[in-house]
Each structure stands twice: as C-alpha cells, then as structure tokens.
C-alpha cells in the first residue's frame, strides 16, 4: 500500500538477529510453488486420462490437453492480474457482486445451453462458461464486503439475519435454475464458513451443525427404509452409495469404476499413463474422476502426494488469513479456503465412495476451463492479500 515498495523477500530470509525496524513485504513462495505443482501435475494427468478418449472422439490425442493448457495459460494471466490489483478495490464494489451473481444465474435463461444433460453453461459470443463458477467468486467478494462494512455490528442478530437472508436465495437459485446441486453445496459451504468465521458465537453453530448432520442421517435412513418398501426408485443415488455393486449398471456404475481404478492402483500404482480404467471404462476420467486415475497410475503415494499438496495450500492460506492486515482481506481468504477445501474434500470423498456421487471437480487438476480460470484468479487475490502482510522484525 504505502510507498509501493517492490522489494520482496521470502519469509525464511527474515532473520531474528536483524534488529532493524525495516518492514519487509511478505511473499509466500511455498504457496506459489504448491500452486504451480498442482496445475502442472493437473496438465500431465489431464493428458494421461484423456488422450485415449480424445483419440477416439476427435482423432487428436491432445484435444483435451490443448484446451486445458489454454485455460491454464489464461489462469496464470488471471493470477498475475489478481496479484497486481489491490484487493481493497473490491470493497468499493459493495453489494454489486451479489447483483452480478443474480444476473449471471438469470443469464442462464436466455443464454444458457445444455451440455451433458444439464443446462449449466452460458454462451456469450465466443466465450462460454459454467454459470456457477463466477458466482462462487462473487459470493466470496460480496460476503467479505458485507462483513467488512458491518464489522462493528457483525454480532448483532439483525446483521446476521440480513447476511443469511441475502445469501440463501443464491444457492437456492443455483440449485433450481442451473440445476446444479454440487455447486449449490459449494456456495452454501463457502457462505457458512465465512459467516461462521465473521461471527463470535460457537454455540449456535455447533447446534446447527449437529442438527444438520442428524438431518442428513435421518434423510438417508428414511430413503433406505422407503426403498425397502417401494423398491428403491426414490433416491437411487443414495442407495447406490450404500451398495455399489448392486447398482453396478445404474447409478453406481461411475463410482464403482472409480473404485476399480483406485483399488487396482495399489501402493505403487501401474505407472504413469498405464491406467486401463480410463479406456472408456470410467466416464469423466479427465474430469470429476481424475483423482481415481491418479491413484490407479501413481498408486497410494500419488494419491497421498496430491492430498498433501492441498493440505499445504490450505495451511498456507490459513496463515495468510490469520495474518491479513484487515478483516476484509481475511474474509476473502476464508472464502477461498472454504472453496478449495470443500471441493477437494467432496471430490475425493465422492471418488472413494465416502459420500454419494455428485459431480464435483478436483481444483487445479480436473479438466475444465471455467473452474481453473476462476480458481487461479482467487489464488491471485489471496496472494495480493498476503502481499499486505508486513513482517516486522522484533
């Protein structure tokens, strides 16, 4: 902010023996390195998982790879710009991001088109994107702005109620209008995480959380019970989750194929590019199911390495959020943490059949242009927040 000093040094170089009062601007190299590793790894895995299908469908083994590389390039430009733009500018937008979110969702109605059986995409001239992705970013910015503006009254019931009242319609709209349960869940989780961090109360949250978990358990129990009586047409997705092999040819197919991939990887994996499940067996191999291909090819170690990278990334963001110079920056980073963490956890949970199947991509690794561009932009914003941190030598 002040002086625009362009002197960055890694944290490690700040020695405590230096008694000077000189301020050094923080730049998180670990964070950037992990990000580059994830994106680079993603490129390799997208190619490995997609070349066979690309060859069959388009006669070009690198069809998906090229599109993915282009998205990554755009993404890195996004990182650079977001890093350069002082995040304080976003707070001037006020409630505008909320309106923008509503506008994007409503654009589905005139401009939307269908892909893979769901109307989730918007086409504007040469550009097409998935409607839910900008909404995630928009909601993060909006909530951060809101919390920052009402920071003094943030624990008042009225303010909390307004916050909930303004965010609730968004994920309902995402769910209903774009017919995208997965994105609605992610947006919901981002909002919950941000409001949770902003407000002081624990008791209410713990109560809500308990009620939520009990509610979900109740629903599952109800579905299983009613399946026993009416033959199980109601929610096959849940039933398939509980007994994959019984629903192997229906709702359980994709997850079961993912389990085959993961299981057959074993500890060491089959080797890069050696997956067989990607040969038309596993649908969406380069997309939502890419983690299972990683496990099949690179084994338990590959899978663990990916999870570890995400853990480091999340932890670095926790450090940045807790050290952010103001509440606005911290809230933005909290939103991004929630976004990344929820997507990673849900994606791996789906692939390992820990939860029922729902289409969620693995951040930075899965094929998908919109997702990667917005995620990278968010990373840039986080780096900009980090840039504000002043490391003072004591």
């Amino acid at each position: 902010m002040q002086n625009n000093i362009r002197q960055f040094r890694p944290k490690q170089t700040t020695s405590q023996e230096q008694p000077s009062k000189k301020e050094i601007f923080y730049f998180d190299y670990t964070f950037l390195l992990v990000l580059i590793l994830l994106v680079g790894f993603g490129v390799i895995m997208v190619y490995s998982a997609s070349y066979y299908e690309a060859m069959q469908k388009f006669g070009d083994a690198s069809y998906y790879l090229n599109k993915h590389l282009f998205a990554c390039a755009v993404g890195f430009v996004g990182v650079f710009f977001a890093y350069k733009i002082p995040y304080q500018i976003y707070r001037k937008l006020g409630f505008l991001p909320l309106l923008a979110c509503i506008a994007v969702i409503l654009m589905i109605i005139p401009f939307g088109f269908e892909a893979n059986g769901a109307r989730r995409w918007i086409r504007l001239g040469p550009i097409s994107f998935q409607a839910a992705e900008p909404v995630k970013l928009g909601m993060i910015i909006f909530l951060a702005n809101f919390v920052f503006r009402y920071r003094k009254r943030i624990n008042q019931f009225k303010i909390i109620a307004i916050m909930i009242g303004l965010t609730l319609p968004i994920f309902l709209m995402v769910y209903k209008i774009t017919d995208n349960l997965s994105s609605a869940i992610i947006i919901f989780a981002i909002c919950v995480a941000m409001i949770f961090v902003a407000t002081k109360n624990y008791k209410w949250w713990i109560t809500l959380g308990t009620v939520g978990v009990a509610g979900v358990a109740g629903i599952v129990w109800y579905i299983v019970q009613s399946a026993a009586s009416d033959g199980g047409f109601r929610s096959e997705r849940i039933l398939a989750w509980l007994d994959l092999e019984k629903y192997a040819s229906g709702k359980g197919y994709q997850t079961l194929q993912a389990m085959y991939a993961i299981g057959s990887g074993g500890i060491w994996g089959k080797g890069l590019c050696q997956s067989i499940q990607k040969l038309n067996f596993l649908p969406e191999a380069q997309n939502d199911m890419i983690f299972s291909i990683i496990c099949e090819e690179l084994g338990l170690f590959g899978g663990i390495a990916v999870i570890l990278l995400f853990m480091i990334l999340i932890w670095r963001m926790v450090i940045i959020a807790t050290h952010a110079v103001d509440m606005h920056g911290a809230m933005i980073v909290v939103g991004v943490i929630a976004h990344i963490a929820v997507q990673v956890i849900l994606n791996i949970a789906v692939v390992t059949n820990t939860i029922p199947n729902t289409g969620i991509s693995l951040p930075f690794i899965s094929y998908g242009g919109t997702s990667i561009c917005f995620l990278m932009f968010e990373m840039g914003v986080v780096m900009n927040v980090a840039r504000g941190i002043k490391i003072t030598n004591y």
Binding site: G266, L279, F281, M317, T352
Partner: protein
C-alpha cells in the same frame, strides 16, 4: 478494521477442521488401496480381460491292442476382427470363395461391429492354411481339434461321437467325458470397454491340458468281423437289425458290440443309406435318435429259449431237477386251465432233462419252473442279478421288465420258465449266462480298461458278485449246453476242433401271431473252460426264422475265426 482474535481462532478452527477431514480421506484411501486393493484389482481385471478358450486335445479311444478308434484331426476356425480389417470388400470376396459361403452370410458377419466374429468352424486345415496365406489383417485362423473316427462305422453306437464343442454326445464319448475332455486353456487379453484388444498389455496364456487316452476292451478285428457277419445276415435275411455281442465271460470285458445297421461317426447327423430307406417320414431328430440307439443295451426283448439256461441253473442249484431226471412231453402241458404248447406239437415223448434241454422242450422247463414255485423262481431271478442293471459303462441301459412277484400266477411262472412274458436287454442275458457258466461269478460287462494321461494311469475296476450258483451247477450247465451244440438244436453252432456250448432261441414278437420273430443264439467256447461268449440276435428275419438255423451259424463263423485268434492273443 483488524482481524479480531476470535476470528483468527475460527480461521484456525476451519483450517484444522479441513485438514482433519483430509486426513480422514487419507485413511479411507489407505484402506481402499491396501486392504481392499486385491478385491478391486481382481474385479477390475475380470472386467478388463477377455478370454478366448484354447481347446484341449480330446483323449483318444484305443482298442485293447492300442489301435486308435477315435482320434483328433486339426481343423481351423476362421474369424474376423472388425477393428483390424483394412479392406472389408476384399475380405468378403476371399472368404466367400475359400469357404464356399454366400456373400450375404459373410457380409453380415464381416460388417458386424464386434470384437471378434466367427465366420466358420471345422474348416479343413488345408483351407485354413490357404486363408492364412492371404495374410489379410483382421482375418484370424485358429487351429482347433475335431474328432475323427478312422473306422467310421465301426462300433458307432459304442464309441459315440462328439458335438461342436467337442463334448461327448452318446456312447463312451459321453460316459467318459471327464477323462477324455481335458482342461481347456485360455488366452487372456486386456481390452478397453469396447472390447478392443490392447497391444501393449500383451496376452496371458494358460496352456490346455490334453484329455486322457481311453483304452477299451473292444478288439478291432473281432468287432470288424462281427460287423461283417451282422451286415451279411442283415442283407440276406432282410432283418430289421442284427446284434452281435462278444464278451469274455470270465471278467466281463466286451470284445465286440455290433448293432447293425451302424452309422457313420464322422457324419453322425446324416442318415446313412441303410437308415434313410428304413426311416422314412418322422421328424429328423427322432430318426437320428433311432439311428444312434444301441439296441443291445438300450432296448429290451423277450429272450425266449435262451433263457431256459437260467431256469435250468435255478432248478439244478435248488435240487429240484437232475440231469438224469426223466420227463414226458406230449406236445403240450396244462397249467391250471391253460394248455401251453411245445414248439414240437407232436411232442418229444420221453426224455431226460439233458435231452429236454437239447430239444428245447417247453413242458420240461415249465415243469422245472413249477417245481421251484413262484417264490423260489423269483428269488433265483434276483440272485442271478436279473432284476438289476448290469452296470455296463454305457449310457442309457434299460431295466428288466418283469411281473411283480405278487402278480405272478402259475401261468406267468410257466411262460417265464421258457423265456416269455418278461423283457431283458441282450447284454443282461449275455452277462447272466456268463455268470452261470463261469463258475458262478456275476461279472460286470464293461468296455473301458484304463485311462492314461499326463497325470498318470487310471485302471478301471468293476464289481464281481461271487457264488450266484455253485461251481458244481456251473459245471453241469457247461456240460448240458455243450451237448445242446454237439447233439441238440444248436448243432449249427459247432466249430471243428473246439468244444462249444450254447442255446438257441426263436421267439415270436408281440403281438403273437404277427409272424415276426427274433432268432438268437448264445454260444461259448471252449465249453469246459469258457474264454469267449457270443450272442447273436436277428430281429424280424424274412424266410427261415429259427435261431438254430440262422443265428447259430453266425456264432459258428465268428468262433471259427476268433477262437484261433484269441488263443494266440491270450487275453486272459
């Protein structure tokens, strides 16, 4: 403005919470990839691998001297792989030309989108080699085995044949399927979800284990000669069929089993000339079943006078008659209010039991049967093993059809005594007579001797029931039956230089009075120590129909040829 302390705590809470959830997934992953790895890997492999069977060479069937009766010849299976073919039209042209198939048939298969499509199997190796020489991509020539019977008709109903998958259909081929079939091998190839083979994964082979060779008791020469005799009798007597069974009475090994007309084992689904004139009309499968039927085992008949051997043995064993006992035959006998005639209506007059047997005199045997009574007669019937199947190692043996004891009155007893009013199989008669003349040991007639394969040799053993008649009765029976041939009705069975025992039979088939007969003769030699027993049955002969006239000469001719041969071979 600044981040509040509680907010920092909550951020940490959030971060730590996420890490804990990720660690949970970590654990889940370890569970799936270590504990459940084998389970899912196995299922995945089953999903990925397509298997092609490699047929195992079926075990051969050898006669007792090691001559191959059922063999394998190499044939080819022609198939196409859709994704590998380059010029489909050329493939269609070539296959039509070489395999002599219609274009429509070939086109349908060549243009079908499948991983592998079979065009034709059982193609001669020569044609297969020619197709291979075209070297067209996507056309596969797989070598395969097909059953081949070098003697085509020889013992067709005994050996049986195999189906398109080389599985036994009838006869020994089905009876010894487990020994003969072997274990097929496998070629396992990894494919993608559409079934396209992946070159990089290579293929895994499980080698087939060849079936075991089965050595059977048939003697090619005896079978062949018996077949010639049967076909001659069939032609000259215009009979419905002619059966000849030749067995070793001491152990039950069958030397020959002829059921003329036989059929061509190499074309079992085509009616042979003899059969196609016989079987006109009717449905094809029924006709084939008739053609394949082994009458000497699958069908029963009224044995007639040959069965007097059994009545005589029972009477002697029980002591109700001795060879010297005298009888008087007026040409009939009254049983209750029924008058049962002797075949010699003028009567045989006074005769001893031995003479009665030589004359095949019905009243004599009815008298012996009456002396025994229903219960005794029935218990001997059971003791001789006539109620049970012989246990021969061929499929579909028929049961004896006989009155229940409580339904047997004097008339039924009388008719049974000379071999009527019940039915047994030819093999049953042969086995029972063997047991009576061999010293009283009920043997199990059989064909398979041993099975020999890579895993070793299995020698088959068959049960023997000893003492169904005493040695003494057995010796007496041999003497009496020898006299039947040397002095009585069986004189056409005499063979110069050998003592032959035997008994003729001429029985009218049901309904009585239709003029149809079954002529038969059962003979054994040497009469004092039998080494071979033979039964010849001519069903529905035209012209002369007496067993002693037409069946006995068959056995004589057979014995004339095989007795010196058997002496030389020493099969015992």
């Amino acid at each position: 403005m600044f981040v509040r302390i509680y907010q920092k705590k909550k951020i940490l809470f959030l971060g730590v919470g996420s890490l804990i959830l990720l660690l949970g997934l970590f654990g889940r992953l370890m569970y799936l990839m270590i504990v459940k790895s084998d389970y899912y890997a196995q299922m995945a492999q089953e999903l990925h691998e397509r298997e092609r069977d490699i047929k195992a060479a079926r075990g051969r069937i050898l006669d007792r001297n090691g001559i191959v009766l059922a063999d394998n010849k190499t044939v080819c299976t022609i198939s196409v792989i859709y994704s590998q073919m380059e010029d489909r039209e050329a493939v269609i042209d070539m296959l039509c030309k070489e395999l002599d198939l219609t274009e429509e048939y070939v086109r349908k298969r060549v243009e079908k989108y499948s991983s592998r499509e079979r065009i034709k199997s059982n193609v001669d190796k020569e044609i297969g080699d020619r197709i291979r020489a075209y070297d067209m991509p996507g056309v596969k020539v797989d070598e395969d085995y097909k059953r081949y019977y070098p003697y085509s008709m020889l013992a067709s109903k005994v050996l049986g044949f195999t189906g398109s998958d080389n599985q036994g259909i009838i006869g020994l081929e089905v009876m010894y399927e487990d020994y003969l079939s072997g274990t097929p091998g496998k070629i396992l190839t990894v494919t993608d979800a559409k079934g396209i083979e992946l070159q990089r994964e290579g293929e895994r082979r499980e080698e087939p284990i060849a079936g075991q060779d089965l050595t059977i008791s048939l003697d090619l020469n005896i079978q062949n000669y018996a077949m010639q005799l049967a076909s001659q009798a069939y032609e000259t007597k215009e009979a419905e069929n002619v059966m000849i069974l030749v067995m070793n009475p001491q152990n039950g090994e069958i030397y020959a089993c002829v059921n003329w007309p036989e059929f061509d084992l190499n074309n079992p689904y085509e009616l042979t000339d003899v059969w196609s004139t016989k079987l006109t009309g009717g449905n094809t499968q029924d006709n084939l079943n008739k053609m394949w039927r082994n009458g000497s085992i699958n069908d029963t008949y009224e044995p007639g006078s040959t069965f007097k051997i059994i009545t005589a043995a029972a009477g002697l064993e029980e002591g109700v008659v001795t060879p010297e006992d005298t009888f008087s035959c007026p040409g009939f006998i009254m049983v209750e209010d029924r008058r049962i005639r002797c075949h010699k209506t003028t009567g045989h007059g006074a005769e001893t039991f031995v003479q009665g047997t030589q004359n095949s005199c019905n009243p004599v045997f009815i008298t012996v049967g009456m002396r025994l009574g229903v219960e005794k007669y029935y218990s001997y019937f059971e003791q001789f093993g006539l109620k049970n199947k012989t246990g021969i190692d061929l499929p579909g043996e028929s049961r004896t059809i006989v009155h229940r004891m409580e339904n047997m009155g004097p008339v039924e007893l009388a008719t049974m005594s000379f071999g009527q009013s019940f039915q047994i199989t030819p093999i049953q008669l042969l086995t029972t007579v063997s047991s009576i003349i061999n010293g009283g040991n009920r043997v199990t007639p059989h064909l398979a001797l041993k099975s020999e394969g890579a895993e070793g040799v299995t020698v088959f053993e068959y049960p023997v029931t000893e003492g169904i008649v005493s040695e003494e009765t057995s010796a007496t029976m041999r003497d009496i039956l020898e006299s039947v041939v040397s002095e009585g009705g069986g004189k056409n069975g005499r063979v110069e230089g050998y003592l032959v025992g035997g008994k003729t039979a001429t029985s009218q088939t049901l309904p009585r009075g239709n003029g149809k007969y079954i002529a038969s003769f059962i003979g054994f030699a040497p009469a004092d120590d039998p080494e071979v027993i033979a039964l010849a049955i001519i069903t529905h002969p035209k012209g002369v129909y007496y067993g002693g006239q037409i069946a006995a000469p068959i056995v004589r001719q057979l014995f004339e040829n095989i007795l010196p041969y058997l002496e030389e071979k020493e099969y015992n």
